[in-house]
């Protein structure tokens, strides 16, 4: 019994000594950190996607609090809501953040398209593109080894059974990570609510594209002529659509109906119903 009391007393004294030491160290060597940084980090979506240009959410929180030149609206996944809160807390002015979503600009899954060769290297699109510009006959198209799927910080991309990525628009925050890692830049960020997108990325001449692809944009320019708002330009063999003009002015997507190869895709059915 006596030993027991001694032990408890000894442990109590040791605990007390260390407690005092720690309390002293906590005061003496405390690192001053702006509590705002922590508050802002909590607000950020924490996908660690790097879309803001900083290595991770904490780095951006620090930068936005400490550097007055860093804008409060850089967090793309956070959209306008986060930008507004960050701007409020830091006393900065937030611009309007445009909400974006990822779109796959290729219609031909690798599993069903014409191939140049049988690829057996490591399972990564960039690694495959190192050898003769990739195994697919179309060197601009989706290689289909899922690099975007693996890199998506929000788990918004899934490959379908033929190897074409499908974007879950509910989960996609528009951070642009997939656009960055895709060696062929098949993934593109488009504004949420865009009406029409060209689902072809190939810059080959039209006749060449027709040989390897069932649904290519042949750069014929029919859509450009059909569009009454001048929203379409043909650049480098591809129809490029200014989605903002569509969203402002268009209520009848004639370009989609006129496209001979069905390479222009109507993204919102309700646009047509409006007219």
């Amino acid at each position: 019994m006596e030993i027991f009391i001694k032990m408890v007393a000894l442990m109590g004294v040791i605990g007390l000594v260390f407690g005092v030491l720690l309390a002293f160290a906590n005061k003496k060597f405390a690192i001053e950190m702006n509590p705002l940084i922590h508050t802002i980090e909590e607000i950020l979506p924490k996908g660690q996607c790097g879309a803001c240009g900083f290595p991770g959410c904490q780095a951006y929180a620090e930068a936005v609090v400490l550097d007055k030149d860093v804008a409060p609206d850089l967090c793309i996944p956070g959209k306008a809501e986060v930008a507004r809160k960050v701007a409020e807390l830091t006393g900065k002015q937030a611009d309007v953040v445009e909400s974006r979503v990822a779109k796959v600009r290729c219609s031909q899954p690798a599993g069903k398209s014409k191939l140049k060769y049988d690829y057996s290297g490591i399972k990564d699109c960039l690694a495959a593109s190192l050898l003769q510009q990739g195994p697919k006959a179309c060197k601009y198209g989706c290689i289909g080894l899922g690099t975007c799927e693996r890199h998506c910080p929000f788990d918004a991309i899934k490959l379908n059974e033929d190897g074409l990525p499908i974007v879950d628009e509910k989960k996609c925050t528009g951070c642009g990570k997939c656009e960055e890692v895709c060696p062929n830049h098949v993934m593109a960020m488009i504004p949420i609510g865009a009406h029409v997108e060209n689902i072809c990325s190939s810059h080959d001449p039209g006749a060449v594209k027709r040989k390897y692809c069932a649904q290519p944009c042949i750069g014929c320019g029919i859509c450009k002529k059909a569009c009454p708002h001048g929203a379409i330009e043909i650049a480098n063999g591809l129809a490029v659509i200014d989605k903002h003009i569509c969203m402002e002015k268009c209520d009848d997507p004639v370009c989609v109906d006129k496209c001979p190869t069905k390479s222009l895709q109507l993204l919102r059915e309700e646009v047509r119903n409006k007219s």
Binding site: G53, K116, Y117, D118, S120, G121, I122, D124, L126, A127, L130, L131, Q132, Q133, G134, K139
Partner: protein, 443 residues
């Protein structure tokens, strides 16, 4: 003390099929596809246009950048197209297509007979530059750049690389046996330019007949040293280590240790260019592999399609599993036989479906075989693991990935069949992309 035999591998050499076959000149192709990117450095600029008549040896594209190379018409005829065509390394690239008129009419003053001894070094260098001579071993680095080292580098030794350590290839072997005089003249010219006394020819000891011929041809000009047959004996840094016991450390070039290394085929090309005025329009190509009916060493015009070359060797024996440009260790698999022979094409191999069978990759078992064979003393297993996890900064800073020359010894010995070289190439690409992004961000 330098010790040998601690690196490298001993793959079956497969050289007997073509080693005894004299070089044959292939008949003129009907059409040549001459890419503007055949060498290390900037691509050259076409100076002809569609419809132009060109003669053999005429300059058709110039390389104006500091490291680049000129390109010449390899047949006489009409330029029919300047367009994107299949390329053996890049997949597709810009190329000049010439339809042959069959006459093979050479540019004026070719061939000529010049007295190089009367020329200054600058004159000779400009001839080599204008003739578009590049390293004929396979990497195709412009020769005039190597022969013109910065003034502050003291060069004391010229090594002539005749190791030809890649299996199957016998092009350099035949060049030594048949063009010994050209090789000797080429070496004399390079000796004059570099002002060196010490010249060593390194030959692997599976080519003793070539060693004998070279010794007779050289006399006192150069020492011919047989080296142990092991891959990659012919890599620049390895041949320097073997012959001179000098190590080229990380980030250094051979000229930093006072050495210039030139391929034996390059020496012959230099002699042809300087003495006869013939630019680089043809090269020796070994066509071999189990699926080629009649393996041969062929003298082929640059731009001839693989299909034509293979047809000149009797065609395929059945359906090949893979067609490779270069040797089996470092060569590049082709997706079509429409790709042209370029300046760096040392061989064309066709192997069977069985030989080309796919290897399913499995996790690294840390056996350390790749570490023991790596000629650069790297840790390939770790590099492949870091590549899988995309930890690229560590691969660069702590595992010296930039020193890897992609010789393929590690992948060759790996019992887990890991694509180690592919992982390393992938990491290098990621590092290059990252560097490009950072450069763009600071601008």
């Amino acid at each position: 003390m330098f010790s040998r035999g601690k690196w490298g591998i001993h793959p079956e050499t497969h050289k007997t099929a073509t080693a005894d076959r004299p070089i044959e000149s292939m008949k003129l192709p009907e059409k040549v596809i001459i890419p503007i990117r055949q060498h290390i450095g900037a691509p050259c600029e076409p100076v002809v246009k569609k419809g132009d008549l060109v003669k053999t040896g005429q300059l058709i594209a110039v390389g104006n950048a500091a490291v680049s190379s000129n390109t010449h018409a390899s047949v006489s005829g009409t330029v029919t197209e300047i367009a994107v065509k299949p390329h053996p390394i890049c997949g597709e690239d810009m190329a000049i297509v010439i339809e042959s008129d069959g006459a093979d009419q050479w540019e004026e003053n070719i061939p000529t007979n010049r007295d190089w001894q009367a020329m200054t070094n600058e004159e000779i260098l400009s001839i080599i530059k204008n003739a578009g001579i590049v390293g004929m071993g396979g990497a195709a680095f412009p020769t005039y750049v190597k022969l013109n080292p910065p003034k502050d580098k003291q060069i004391d030794t010229l090594i002539i690389n005749a190791a030809e350590c890649e299996p199957f290839l016998t092009a350099d072997h035949r060049v030594m046996l048949e063009y010994a005089q050209s090789v000797v003249s080429g070496i004399k010219i390079m000796k004059k330019i570099l002002g060196v006394q010490n010249i060593i020819v390194g030959v692997e000891d599976n080519k003793m007949d070539a060693v004998k011929v070279m010794r007779e041809a050289f006399g006192d000009l150069a020492q011919v040293i047989p080296m142990k047959t092991q891959y990659p004996q012919g890599a620049e840094k390895m041949i320097i280590k073997t012959l001179l016991q000098r190590s080229v450390s990380s980030g250094q070039l051979p000229m930093d240790v006072g050495v210039v290394v030139q391929n034996v085929g390059t020496a012959a090309a230099v002699a042809d260019a300087v003495i006869k005025g013939i630019p680089l329009v043809e090269r020796i190509v070994t066509v071999s592999g189990s699926m080629i009916k009649e393996p041969k060493n062929l003298k082929v015009r640059i731009g001839t399609s693989f299909a034509d070359v293979i047809a000149a060797c009797g065609g395929f024996e059945g359906t090949p599993g893979k067609v490779i440009m270069g040797g089996p260790m470092m060569g590049i698999a082709e997706y079509t036989v429409d790709v042209p022979v370029i300046k760096g094409t040392s061989g064309i191999l066709a192997i069977s479906v069985k030989e080309a069978k796919k290897m399913e990759e499995s996790p690294c078992i840390h056996c350390g075989k790749c570490v023991s064979v790596c000629p650069m003393g790297l840790n390939p297993s770790m590099l492949s693991i870091l590549a899988e996890k995309e930890i690229i900064d560590e691969a660069r800073d702590e595992y010296n990935i930039v020193d890897c020359m992609e010789c393929g010894c590690c992948s060759f010995v790996c019992p887990a069949k890991r694509h180690i070289v592919h992982h390393i190439k992938y990491t290098k690409k990621l590092l290059a992309d990252k560097a490009a992004r950072e450069k763009g961000a600071t601008k």
